[in-house]
Each structure stands twice: as structure tokens, then as C-alpha cells.
């Protein structure tokens, strides 16, 4: 008895010491670089800096996915009506770090879903964009700090252990129309964030902050000032640039070898009315390549010049190496809201491939430089709606199969531009969009990244806003607007499993990690976060 008690005490103290050692420091910059090479972690929005959202885990396979079962459900107690619970949880040392609607946030026990702490920001009553889309897509993490942006356009550092605010800095004046919703990206010793609010008279930017102090290190405006490069793509002598939009509300990606940050920009403002902003409106609806040390732009690629359909380019730019025409190319891939799938050289920004992945009637071809050859502006007969051929929900990429998995939307809408009255703090869409209810559907599509051809699709009854996760075992996890969380075979698109979550899966993509040696798959939906795993082995 005494001996047994001693042994037990010995085991307990070893465990305590072990945990304490493991907890020290939290993720370092090197851990962030390692990304998914440590499958018991998920340390940044897309899992790693490539944005591929493709896990090396192989416990759950096409052969056993039908046995997936819910392990627990976490209820947030807060929701965004008509929008989503859009978070990708971060996982570190068995703990999940989760942000929710209305700037709630939690640290959850990965084993049970039980909270360690809850944070809730007191928000002002006069939010602007943040009142219309009170969402958040997740934390950034470094050491013992978590980084979160807010609907009143602040950036916060929270203490990872307690959820208390360490510092709080202002990104922009929310009363004008700014808000922030994205998951920050931590690169080396910088917290990189973007801004929302392109429906208001705002000017987009990408910022870098010191993770220790919150001091701003640089700001890159996405719309130029007078006389700067790109300013000739706007009317001279007007206020159009100062309120030109170009919001930056989706997390970018990073190539540490090229020391380049890839970050996308949103619509010009007003969204639908373009007469007062003649020109291409650089650098809206573009992909920007930036030097993370200074914020200086290396190159840009504009997907939709002079956009009048609200087709933001705010997607996760997916980095990969592909063999194209016999040579190995470093590429960045984007399935864009304008209905085209793009492969760019990520060193130069030059177009390598570009083809529609949807049935869009707006344009069917790009010219050699990548400029769309527009056939229909959508004012007479319909083109895709203002949510586009896909949206910000993350895609995934399986390098072994060369397949890019994306949620595609097929819609039909006509646009009626109207000159807006521009008032600070009031949205300025500049028109009306009419959607045809009988012409709206969705699909999960697998695109051959080199050829742009569709390998397979799984059709949904309505357009979905759910993101995608894939795994090295040959699985794709996706979601639909009817609430199903689903698993498919990556090679064939065969449906393997689904679970009805009870609310549209909206903006969120799944993440996966191992906990106590068992692979977990998590998805946010409605007011719930649900963890799935294969049944635990029976005790002997």
C-alpha cells in the first residue's frame, strides 16, 4: 500500500514537472515556421505559412472516416445572426484557443471542450462595419500571448494562461467604418493584421506590430496617396483614393525563404457604383507581395480591375511548388471571387495559369497579363452575385495529388448601380443587387492546379460558405449551407461521411491535430464547436 502510494505520487510529480516544462514559453517563431510538422499542434490560422490547410495526419482515412463520431460540443452562447462562427481554433499543448462572434474568446480543454477562461470585449454601441458582421476568425499566437483583432478596430494581446488583456492598441477609427475580423498572422517578431470596412468610405491597410509592446512597426496602405505608384489608376484631384476601400480582412501567407508576405485586398468603394472612380483602382481586388521587414511592396497582381460587383480578392493565397511546362515553379494560387482560378509565379507575380472554375458569364478568358476579358457587366443579364464564385472560406491544396479543393458558388444576379451619398460611418454600396432564387447552387470542386481542369465535384443544393481541410490520408473535409460537415475521398470526390451540425457552416474551415495520440477534427458551426474522432480503442 505504501509502496503503491509512493509510486502514484512519483508518477504525478513527474507529470507535473513534464507539463510545466512543456508549457514554458508557448510557441516560438521556430514553432510557427515548423507549422504542421508537429501534428499535435495547430499554431496559425491555416496550420502553417503555406496556406495549404493540408494536414500530414493519416489516422482517419477514406476506409474508416464513416466511423467518425462527435467527442464533445462547445456552446459559445454568442452568435452572429445570418453569418457564421468563422474561427479556426489554434491548438497548443492540448488546449484550444478560440475566438467567436461579438469578440468573445476562450481557452478550451481539447479533451472535453470545457473552458479554462472566457474573454469578452466590451464593445461600443455605435459600431459600424463591426455591427453588420460581428465575426472573428481566430487568434494569432506567439509565446505566452494571443493576438486578436476587434470589431471596434483594435488589436489586443491576451495572456495565454488567463485571457487577460496585456496590451490594446487602436488600428483605426471604427466610427468612420473600420472594423477588424481576421486572424492575425505572426511572422518572426511581428504581428501582421489587416482591416475590414470596404463598404464604408475607408482606406485599406496592412499593419505590423511589435508582439511585446503593441507598437506599430509599419503600415502599408493598399490604396496609394496622390503621386504614389498606382495613383494614376484613380481619377486625379478627387477624394476617391482617400476613401477607396481595398480592405485586407483575410489572413495572408508567408514564404520564409523568399522573405515575402502574400496578402490580398478587397473591393474599391463604393462597391457597385464606379463612375466616380474611373480607372483600375489599384491596389484593390489584388494580391500584394510585401517585405515583412518593412511593409514595402515587391509586386502586385490585380484580379478584378475597376470592380463593380464587390468581388474582393480576400482569400488565403496558397503557396506551393508546381511543375509547369517542365519546370519547377514557386507559385501562389488563388480561386477568386470573380470565378477564375489563378496560378501566379510568387517570385515575380506574373500569371502562369488562369481559367474559370465556375460557370461565370462575366468573363471566360484572361489576356496574357491576366486581365479578364469582360463580356457582361451584369447590369442587363446576370453574372455571379456579390458573394462571387467563392469567397473567403479557406480552400485547401494536396500537393501529392496536385489538387486544389474549393467551395464554388454558382449564382445569377443583376446589378443596379446608384450614386451613393458618402457619409462617414454609413455604408456606401452604391446600388442594389438582385439575385435569381432559382439559379443558386454550390459545389465542392477539385481543381488540377497545373491545368485548371476540374477533376471532380460534389454538388450542394445551395451555395455554401464553408471552408475546406484536406489530409495526407486522402480526405477532404468540407461543409454546406444546410449544416452538414462532410468527409470526401480526395482522389474521387466520393462522399464518405457527414454530420448535421444544425447551422450553416459559414466561413469556417476545419482543423485537425492529435491529442493523446488520437486525431481530432474540429469544425465551428452556428454557436457550436464540435470535435470529432474515431472511437477510442476498447480498454483491454
Amino acid at each position: 500500500m505504501t509502496r503503491l502510494a509512493t509510486i502514484v505520487v512519483g508518477v504525478v510529480s513527474t507529470t507535473i514537472v513534464g507539463l510545466a516544462q512543456q508549457n514554458t514559453g508557448g510557441p516560438t517563431a521556430a514553432d510557427l515556421l515548423a507549422g504542421l510538422r508537429h501534428p499535435e499542434r495547430w499554431v496559425t490560422f491555416s496550420g502553417d505559412y503555406t496556406g495549404q490547410r493540408h494536414s500530414p495526419l493519416t489516422e482517419i482515412t477514406p476506409a474508416n472516416a464513416h466511423r467518425l463520431a462527435a467527442q464533445w460540443t462547445f456552446q459559445t452562447g454568442t452568435m452572429t445572426r445570418g453569418r457564421g462562427f468563422e474561427v479556426t481554433p489554434l491548438a497548443w499543448d492540448g488546449v484550444l484557443y478560440v475566438t467567436g462572434s461579438n469578440n468573445f474568446a476562450w481557452a478550451l480543454d481539447g479533451r472535453t471542450g470545457r473552458p479554462f477562461w472566457q474573454y469578452r470585449r466590451e464593445l461600443p454601441a455605435n459600431l459600424t462595419y463591426g455591427a453588420q458582421a460581428p465575426v472573428n476568425r481566430g487568434f494569432g499566437m506567439l509565446g505566452d500571448r494571443l493576438f486578436m483583432v476587434t470589431l471596434d478596430a483594435h488589436l489586443l494581446a491576451l495572456d495565454r494562461a488567463t485571457g487577460t488583456v496585456v496590451w490594446d492598441v487602436v488600428l483605426a477609427d471604427y466610427t468612420v467604418g473600420y472594423a477588424a475580423t481576421l486572424a492575425p498572422l505572426v511572422v518572426d517578431d511581428k504581428v501582421i493584421v489587416g482591416i475590414s470596412g470596404g463598404e464604408y468610405a475607408t482606406r485599406g491597410f496592412i499593419d505590423a506590430y511589435d508582439p511585446r509592446t503593441g507598437a506599430r512597426l509599419w503600415r502599408h496602405y493598399t490604396v496609394p496617396a496622390a503621386g504614389e505608384p498606382g495613383s494614376d489608376s484613380w481619377p486625379a484631384g478627387t477624394e476617391a483614393m482617400a476613401r477607396g476601400g481595398g480592405a485586407t480582412w483575410m489572413t495572408g501567407t508567408y514564404d520564409p525563404a523568399l522573405r515575402t508576405l502574400y496578402w490580398a485586398t478587397g473591393n474599391p468603394n463604393p462597391d457597385y457604383y464606379g463612375k466616380d472612380r474611373q480607372g483600375d483602382n489599384l491596389y484593390t481586388n489584388s494580391l500584394l507581395a510585401l517585405d515583412p521587414a518593412t511593409g514595402a511592396r515587391k509586386w502586385h497582381f490585380q484580379f478584378t480591375p475597376h470592380d463593380t460587383h464587390d468581388w474582393d480578392a480576400n482569400h488565403v493565397p496558397v503557396l506551393a511548388d508546381l511543375t509547369i511546362d517542365g519546370s519547377r515553379r514557386q507559385v501562389v494560387m488563388v480561386a477568386n471571387r470573380n470565378g477564375f482560378f489563378y496560378v501566379l509565379d510568387r517570385v515575380t507575380g506574373r500569371l502562369l495559369r488562369g481559367a474559370p472554375f465556375t460557370a461565370t458569364t462575366w468573363a471566360r478568358e484572361l489576356d496574357a497579363a491576366g486581365r479578364p476579358i469582360v463580356l457582361n457587366d451584369g447590369q442587363g443579364t446576370c453574372v455571379p452575385d456579390q458573394w462571387g464564385g467563392t469567397n473567403f472560406m479557406p480552400p485547401s491544396f494536396d500537393a501529392a495529388l496536385g489538387l486544389f479543393f474549393v467551395t464554388a458558388r454558382e449564382t445569377c444576379a443583376t446589378y443596379q448601380p446608384q450614386a451613393p451619398k458618402l457619409v462617414p460611418g454609413e455604408s456606401s454600396f452604391g446600388g442594389v443587387v438582385k439575385r435569381d432564387p432559382d439559379k443558386a447552387s454550390g459545389a465542392l470542386r477539385a481543381i488540377d492546379a497545373v491545368t485548371g481542369e476540374r477533376r471532380w465535384e460534389f454538388a450542394y443544393p445551395s451555395p455554401s460558405m464553408a471552408g475546406v481541410l484536406s489530409t495526407a490520408s486522402g480526405l477532404v473535409f468540407a461543409g454546406d449551407n444546410e449544416g452538414n460537415f462532410m468527409a470526401f475521398a480526395s482522389k474521387t470526390g466520393a462522399h464518405l461521411w457527414h454530420y448535421q451540425t444544425g447551422a450553416p457552416i459559414w466561413g469556417a474551415a476545419a482543423m485537425t491535430y492529435t491529442l493523446d495520440g488520437r486525431q481530432q477534427v474540429l469544425i465551428a458551426s452556428g454557436t457550436t464547436l464540435v470535435a470529432f474522432a474515431l472511437p477510442a480503442p476498447e480498454a483491454p
Binding site: 473591393n267 451619398k421 442594389v432 447552387s441 454538388a459 452538414n484 448535421q500
Partner: protein
Amino acid sequence: MFWRVVGAIAAWVAMLVAAGGSSLAGQAPTLAPGATALAGAALYAARCADCHGADATGVRGPDLTRLWGAGTTDDRVFQTIRQGVAGSIMPASTAPDSEVRALVAYLKTLGTTSTVSTAPVARGSVAQGEATFWRTCGGCHRVGPRGGRLGPDLTRIGVTHSADALRTAIRRASAAITPGYQSVTLVTTSGTTLRGLRKGEDAFSVQILDTRERLQGYRKADLVSVARDAQSLMPDYGPDRVPDADLDDIVTFLTTLKGSK
């Protein structure tokens, strides 16, 4: 940039939501009533007329010309525009308060705002209409506690639809099918054909109210086909089935229905 996504049936409604800040954003609430109503008229034409009709007497959505006559208030109309109507194609609006107020001001200028006639606006007999209704329509439609469930509940139809809209709905039933009343035909793997109203559908299942008024869910794995029928379960009641005089009576009766459910 992005707002709410609605289900397949109501997909088009995002138009109104997306319109949430268009041309008249910034109309101060202190505008003269006439100017506000004028602004509201423009907003109405762009965002509401598709469903409620250019003259607001109702097409797919209800007649809006008799809201105040039926006892509603400015606040209630404001909140209905703001929040939408759950379970219908009427979406919530994120338009600025000033625009919603302008719409309310415009709607209030329409039709029978203050001088409501309680007399039937149609030209038939209420009593005859009621009798014909229960012979012809009551199997599928409900008024108060009586009637069937395969068609929309008509307890308040006199509030929401004009006589003209009712005539059209009876003569050409499939021209505008009320959301939630789309007919579907299912064929099971055992060869049975079922017809019912499509109450819900996702990639793997369909939920119907069958023709025996039984709520039934089916897994698509157990079905050979799920077809959305072009025709409503309600046939077009042409003059051969409902002579003009009977139609007048039925419509007259229906316009008197303003009860609460």
C-alpha cells in the same frame, strides 16, 4: 462585402440585405415627411417592389397598402423590415435606420392609411363565398381552426393580399408558389412514388409534408429521385372549375379574413 446567406428557396432575398447602404444612405431622420416618403418610394421601387408589387398590393409578398388600416404601427413595420419574417422570403435588412424610416414613411402614404373601409372590396357575396370556399378550398387551406394544411393558412389573407392578387393566385396557382409550398415528387428505391410539399432539403435528405399531411423525412440514399415539380399542388382554378361568379364570392370572403392565428 458580405452579409447573410439564406437558404435555396429564399436565396434571392440577399438583394435587400446587400442593398443595405445604397444611394440614400445618410438621409437624415429630420427630413420633412414628404421628402422622406419620396426617398422611401425610390428605395421601395429598388428593393421591395419585386415581391410586394410596384403598387404594393402584393405579388409573392403581401399587400402593403392596408397595414395601418389593419392596426399596425410605424414601429412594428420598422421592426418587420429590420428583422425580416422568419420562415418566409422576407429577409432582415441591414440598411441604415434612416432608410428604413424612409420606407416606413412611404408605405404609410399608400392606400387606405387612415380611412379604412371595412366593407369587402370585392364584388361577391361573403356568405356564398364562405360556403364555396369550404367546398372547394378548405381541404387544403386553413382558416382559424378549420381546414387543411397542404396550402398556406388563410386566416389573415385579407390583411396581406388584395382582391386582385387573390384572383390571380386562384386562377394561376403555379405562377407564384408560396415558399415552403413547393411540390416535390419522390421515388423510393422500392418503387413507390410520393408527392408532398418540400419543407426542407439538404445534400443527403429531404423533408416533406406528404399529401396525407404527414411530416416525413427521407434519406436520399433511400430514394431513386427527388424532383421539384413545376406545378403547385394547387391546380389552376380556371373558369371551368370555378366560374367567375364563384370566384367573386370566394375572393370577397377571403378579403374579410383578418383574424389572428
